[in-house]
């Protein structure tokens, strides 16, 4: 058996060594398309490494080499630069490689000679030298490939759309870099509305940064800042370029030297945390009048008042109580964060951009609202009273623990909100929110401990608390409504319906629970509810189906761009303003806010009956990509103005309202 395996291994080894056995298949594929003489055809060098093998990006990283291509072309034809798809990182024993561990295509533009006629056949040859490696060994290979470009042949859009979608897109702006104290800092314009989590910068320029060093990503408003180690030679660089990869998306950016602040925490996040912390303290404070917390607190407070303890004892007890409360809140927070970490590892990182997270929040909020409305009750845990009944500092501590613990089931609403915040805030900030919640919960008791006059003025628990609870269900229902709206925006009508259906099933199940409160097996109906929730999560469309235009205040009555719509508007004899944008393009957003979506522009456009079409290239739509290419652009923004009977006017990349108003009047 072992012998057979050895033989097999030997045979395979021999096969791998034999001269014509390649580890990467290379083919040359022209896109075709009706080419005018002097026009262009896209050529693809399709590279297909064997499983376990990888090819290299233009900058291969610490080791490896760039592929070399020599073209043999008919007279008068020429090719442009090779365009590489977005690569991946591959670290082997501390050495960074920029690679493709799958099939990929290098694209280039063939410029057809001016003298060709439809039906002419152009022979194209290329000889390639490239490196193909496994994690253990590297083999330089050469390939001779050939193809014929038939002028006027039909295009193969499907295949090439895929190749183009894998290319990086120009970010539509310039970045900066700064080398200081052995560190390279790279600042890239990237809208604050887009998550930059997990971003990685692939430098094309050698010597800008150490490939194998970890990259730290932080945000400064509309700028993404990447910080990593720089090699000695980085100081001499006059410029650089490279590729920013966020998720699967690659954005091409050129960099100029310029100052970048070395700050650590961003101001925006700090104010968010402060706001969340304030909300948590207030929320914790209000938790005290929840029906199940108030009795405990008031009993303890009354005992404090009754025994007329010395000031010092009262204070110590108050502090012990606060410690107990905050500790439990932090423990709960820690548990939730641990869950979050686990979730992030399996790709729960898109957070609230993921409709599934919205569904979970929707169901949670619905359940809370129904609870507040009195549909069902959650029973407090009865244990722990013994410990809490004891006097002294220890007793106060355990009362705090109990109060916070008891508060969990019957004040789940608040925990839900804190959990929502914890899901999206950095760990330290999330823990601070939980601690704030505890502090808020402990605050009245602290006050009672430190201000004796207050001890005599506590309101009595009573029916008023139940009434208040019912009233408080209204804002919670409104929150659920808001979440359903967000879900609709993200996942379309279908997604919203799925979410609402799950909420309905949950509501019915909870109703059942409420009806049979106190019986054995009363939580059984929650099984179908949980199943409904799981189904909803599985089936909600995660890719946004709603048109992205919904996100912009549509004051210009803009319609989604299609070439057919453009043609029909032109046929009607209407002037048309077409603009192309993407969520990740900062220049686009600035132009839209500052110049396009303005009252004076809307009025001028309406007066002149200008139709507006918007092409959203956020997802790299191939038809829009081709349209951009035809207008000499490889990316957004692109602003076009079509006057009836005239060729399109390409507007500058930086717009002003007055430029747009004067254009149409």
């Amino acid at each position: 058996m072992i012998l057979a395996r050895l033989l097999l291994a030997l045979l395979l080894g021999l096969w791998a060594l034999s001269a014509d056995a390649r580890n990467m298949a290379v083919t040359l594929v022209p896109e075709g398309a009706t080419v005018a003489p002097g026009g262009r055809v896209t050529l693809a060098l399709v590279m297909e490494p064997e499983p376990g093998w990888h090819g290299y990006w233009r900058n291969p990283g610490d080791a490896g080499t760039e592929s070399q291509v020599e073209w043999t072309l008919p007279n008068g034809a020429s090719v442009g630069e090779l365009r590489y798809p977005v690569p991946e990182t591959l670290t082997i024993a501390g050495i960074m490689n920029y690679v493709y561990e799958h099939d990929y295509a290098l694209l280039t533009e063939l410029r057809v000679p001016a003298g060709v006629k439809p039906g002419d056949v152009l022979p194209i040859r290329a000889s390639l030298d490239y490196l193909v490696c496994t994690r253990e060994i590297c083999v330089p290979e050469s390939a001779e490939v050939a193809a014929q470009v038939t002028i006027g042949a039909p295009a193969q859009p499907g295949r090439f759309d895929g190749y183009r979608a894998a290319l990086p897109r120009p970010i539509g702006g310039e970045g900066r870099f700064a080398i200081e104290g052995g560190k390279a800092r790279i600042a890239i314009p990237y809208p604050a509305s887009e998550s930059g989590e997990g971003a990685y910068f692939f430098p094309l320029t050698h010597g800008l940064l150490k490939y194998s060093a970890a990259q730290e990503v932080r945000r400064d408003g509309d700028t993404l800042i990447i910080e990593t180690d720089a090699p000695g030679e980085a100081a001499g660089l006059k410029g650089a370029e490279g590729l920013l990869k966020v998720g699967e998306r690659g954005l091409w950016v050129t960099l100029r030297p310029g100052p970048i602040a070395a700050g650590t925490a961003e101001a925006g996040l700090a104010s968010t945390i402060l706001l969340a912390l304030l909300g948590a303290v207030l929320g914790g404070l209000i938790l005290n009048i929840m029906p199940c917390v108030f009795p405990i607190l008031s009993l303890k407070a009354l005992s404090l008042a009754r025994t007329g303890e010395s000031e010092g004892t009262a204070r110590r007890e108050a502090l012990a109580y606060a410690a107990g409360v905050i500790l439990v809140c932090l423990a709960l927070g820690g548990a939730l964060l641990a869950l979050r970490a686990g979730g992030a590892a399996v790709g729960w990182a898109f957070q609230l951009q993921d409709p599934r997270v919205i569904i979970v929040l929707l169901l949670l909020v619905t359940a809370i609202a129904l609870n507040l409305a009195g549909l069902f009750d959650l029973r407090a845990v009865g244990a722990g009273q013994g410990l809490a009944g004891k006097g002294g500092v220890g007793g106060a501590f355990w009362t705090g623990v109990l109060a916070a613990f008891v508060a969990t089931p019957c004040t789940g609403p608040f925990m839900g909100a804190a959990m929502g915040a914890a899901l999206i805030l950095p760990t330290a900030a999330a823990l601070a929110v939980f601690a704030g919640l505890g502090l808020g919960l402990a605050l009245p008791f602290l006050l009672l401990g430190f201000v004796p006059a207050l001890r005599r003025r506590l309101p009595k628990p009573g029916l008023w608390m139940d009434r208040l609870r019912r009233i408080l269900s209204v804002p919670m229902f409104l929150t659920a409504l808001g979440l359903a709206w967000i879900l609709g925006r993200q996942a379309g009508v279908d997604g919203m319906t799925i979410g609402l259906a799950a909420a309905t099933v949950l509501g019915l199940a909870l109703w059942w629970v409420g009806q049979w409160q106190g019986r054995v097996g009363l939580w059984l109906p929650l099984v179908p509810a949980a199943a409904a929730a799981a189904l909803a999560l599985a089936f909600v469309p995660t890719a946004a189906t709603a048109p992205a235009m919904a996100s912009a205040p549509n004051m210009l009555n803009a319609e989604p761009f299609t070439e057919a719509r453009l043609a029909s508007l032109q046929q009607e004899g209407r002037p048309v303003f077409v603009y192309f944008t993407a969520d990740w393009c900062l220049t686009c957003k600035v132009n839209e806010k500052g110049a396009i979506e303005r009252k004076e522009v809307a009025k001028a456009f309406a007066d002149a009956q200008v139709a507006v079409l918007v092409g959203d290239w956020t997802r790299g739509d191939a038809t829009i990509g081709r349209f951009l290419e035809r207008h000499g652009r490889s990316g957004v923004p692109l602003y076009l103005y079509y006057q009836p009977g005239k060729p399109a006017e390409i507007l500058p990349q930086v717009l002003t309202p007055s430029r747009l108003v004067s254009m149409v009047s």
């Binding site: 610490d62 080791a63 080499t65 760039e66 070399q68 082997i92 024993a93 501390g94 050495i95 490689n97 030298d129 490196l131 490696c133 253990e136 060994i137 604050a192 998550s195 989590e197 971003a199 050698h206 010597g207 150490k210 194998s212 060093a213 990259q215 945000r219 180690d229 090699p231 000695g232 030679e233 961003e266 968010t272 706001l275 969340a276 948590a280 207030l282 929320g283 938790l287 609230l352 809370i368 609202a369 507040l372 609403p413 608040f414 839900g416 909100a417 804190a418 929502g420 915040a421 999206i424 805030l425 950095p426 760990t427 269900s473 804002p475 919670m476 409104l478 929150t479 808001g482 967000i486």
Partner: protein, 214 residues
């Protein structure tokens, strides 16, 4: 009221979700690479006869360090064509010490024991002063050697004066050697003439050094 606050907190969080920071993972910190112009870090390795060889033992002499993996196609380019041996001969004849170092880990391509290394040296006719085995990759990581070949030159005073590739044609085609600038020979002749090294660093090219997995 409390639920409103709850909702408020949730929505504040919702609205600002995009402002979320991308926390980065902390990877193992690579040892600070030696800097050209600074003293070269000292090391000690055993040669093929088991005798210890240390850099500090060559004070007053120029020392070339060459990272080697005889099975790497880029190393074969320079040994198969005789370019590396020629460079070694020129250097050694000028009194330069040439240390060839193999940082390949056991089980990886190019790793050898002393007997295997002796056989390879006998076959390719290498002219280096010593062939040193660095199976645990300590010296390779100390110098941040990333490729084979990856070349370093230490001057008589013990300062690192060159780090980078053998030449400026990063291909595996032996035909490219003729037109390439041999950075090591150029640096050695500048050192000999008492001039500063004009190209003190370049991009090394070749296979990755086959270190043990961390």
């Amino acid at each position: 009221m409390k639920q409103m606050l709850a909702a408020f907190t949730a929505f504040t969080a919702l609205a600002l979700t995009a402002g979320c920071d991308g926390s980065s993972s902390v990877e193992e910190k690579s040892a600070t690479a030696p800097v050209v112009g600074q003293p070269a870090p000292n090391f000690q390795l055993a040669d093929l006869d088991g005798k210890p060889v240390s850099l500090s033992g060559f004070k007053g002499k120029t020392v070339v360090l060459e990272w080697n993996n005889p099975e790497c196609p880029y190393v074969k380019k320079h040994y198969g064509s005789g370019n590396m041996q020629k460079t070694q001969t020129t250097a050694v004849n000028d009194g330069v010490v040439w240390l060839t170092i193999n940082s390949g880990a056991p089980g990886n391509q190019g790793h050898m024991d002393a007997a295997q290394a002796k056989a390879v040296l006998a076959q390719n006719g290498a002219r280096s002063s010593a062939y040193l085995l660095d199976a645990n990759g300590k010296v390779g990581k100390l110098y941040d050697a990333r490729t084979t070949p990856h070349m370093f030159i230490v001057d008589q005073a013990g300062a690192l004066v060159y780090a980078g590739g053998i030449d400026d044609k990063p291909t595996n085609d032996p035909d490219d050697i003729a037109g390439a600038r041999n950075h090591v020979l150029a640096a050695l002749s500048e050192i000999k003439a008492g001039k500063p090294v004009s190209v003190a660093s370049s991009r090394p090219y070749g296979c990755s050094v086959k270190y043990a997995d961390a």
